[in-house]
Symmetry: C2
Subunit: 207 residues, 2 copies
């Protein structure tokens, strides 16, 4: 893991440690975004990020664990803006739309978000065959569960239905993101995935 | 990787190599099942399997890659019987049932199969948070896709719908298998998952 900088170690109170950690986090994410913009994802490695940020390999390693972890952190960071739109943005994604419309809009917005961030998303999936599943998307599932609770669905097992729909939303999308690198195909994938999601919700939520 | 036995190396023609490999495979699976029956999954390690089978660590390593790989191979082996039931067993799982009934029966049988084999399934998922997704279950998806093609579903994107349903079937099940070890909970999980699958198929395939 190489050299460890003095900035890895905080001698202050817990509050000071957290402020330090937050500053390092912001610096690392900002540096990673600069590197992405300048030379693309392939050059963004643990070593290069440590060197450019001046924070030391130990800090970068502990913060991200693996190279995929850098991209996961970038994705999480971008996702915060997306979540704000979901929680308090304009309808039909945000409140003030009927729950069925919001459910369709949520899945379609998530598809668009992940396709827009597909380079980052792809690199956030590490070299293994497994791709993240519903276990990694508790927010998605919680939001889908909340909306299902407001749709008249008879005697459904809403927790399980939320799990099923979250997986049905994520699996084809992550399969696309992990498999393909063609920009031209992304437009077609977006049309297909968004209309497939609408179709599924229409079928599941038919009165 | 330790010692490599003479049986790892085949000097014969390709046909002889394949016979050798098949014999090793059968021996390793039979030995693994004996060890499972005698002392449970925790004692079934790469080293113990090599010692008991007398085949050498190199053979075991190349065959299975990781300890989880042993359990994956055991699961694949058991799954062959299940697949025969699906392809040529009695209805409603096998042919000679209407496709909608077969689709419900297929998911329910898969749930029961994986819950019955949950100790092996759990150990076939390695220590990581990720659990196998639809990418690992091409047979499941192909079967679901075939059945969907025989159900009147209007202008649906059947390939995508098959992917969505496969994920909706697998994700809650694998989440249960990877998270829980309580036998008492398995009965409840079976009832809940099988009726949740029936409910989903009923909703998706309503005329």
């Amino acid at each position: 893991m190489g050299c460890v900088n003095a900035s890895d170690v905080s001698w202050g109170a817990p509050r000071a440690e957290r402020a330090d950690a937050a500053r390092n986090r912001r610096l690392l994410l900002a540096t990673a975004r600069e590197m992405l913009a300048e030379s693309g994802p392939d050059r963004l490695t643990m070593d290069a990020l440590a060197e450019r940020s001046g924070l030391g390999k130990g800090t970068v390693f502990r913060r991200f664990g693996t190279r995929a972890g850098i991209f996961q952190a970038l994705l999480d960071d971008s996702e915060r803006g997306f979540q704000e739109q979901v929680l308090s943005g304009p309808p039909p994604l945000g409140p003030d739309a009927p729950p069925r419309e919001r459910l369709i809009a949520y899945g379609q917005a998530r598809i668009r978000f992940l396709l827009e961030h597909r380079e980052i998303a792809r690199h956030s999936i590490d070299g293994r065959q497994n791709v993240p599943t519903g276990t990694q998307t508790p927010l998605s599932r919680a939001h889908i569960r909340m909306l299902l609770g407001r749709i008249p669905l008879g005697a459904a097992d809403l927790d399980l239905l939320a799990m099923q729909l979250t997986a049905a939303l994520d699996a084809p999308l992550l399969l696309y993101v992990s498999a393909s690198a063609l920009d031209a195909a992304a437009d077609r994938a977006e049309r297909r995935l968004t209309s497939g999601w609408r179709d599924l919700v229409d079928r599941v939520c038919r009165p």
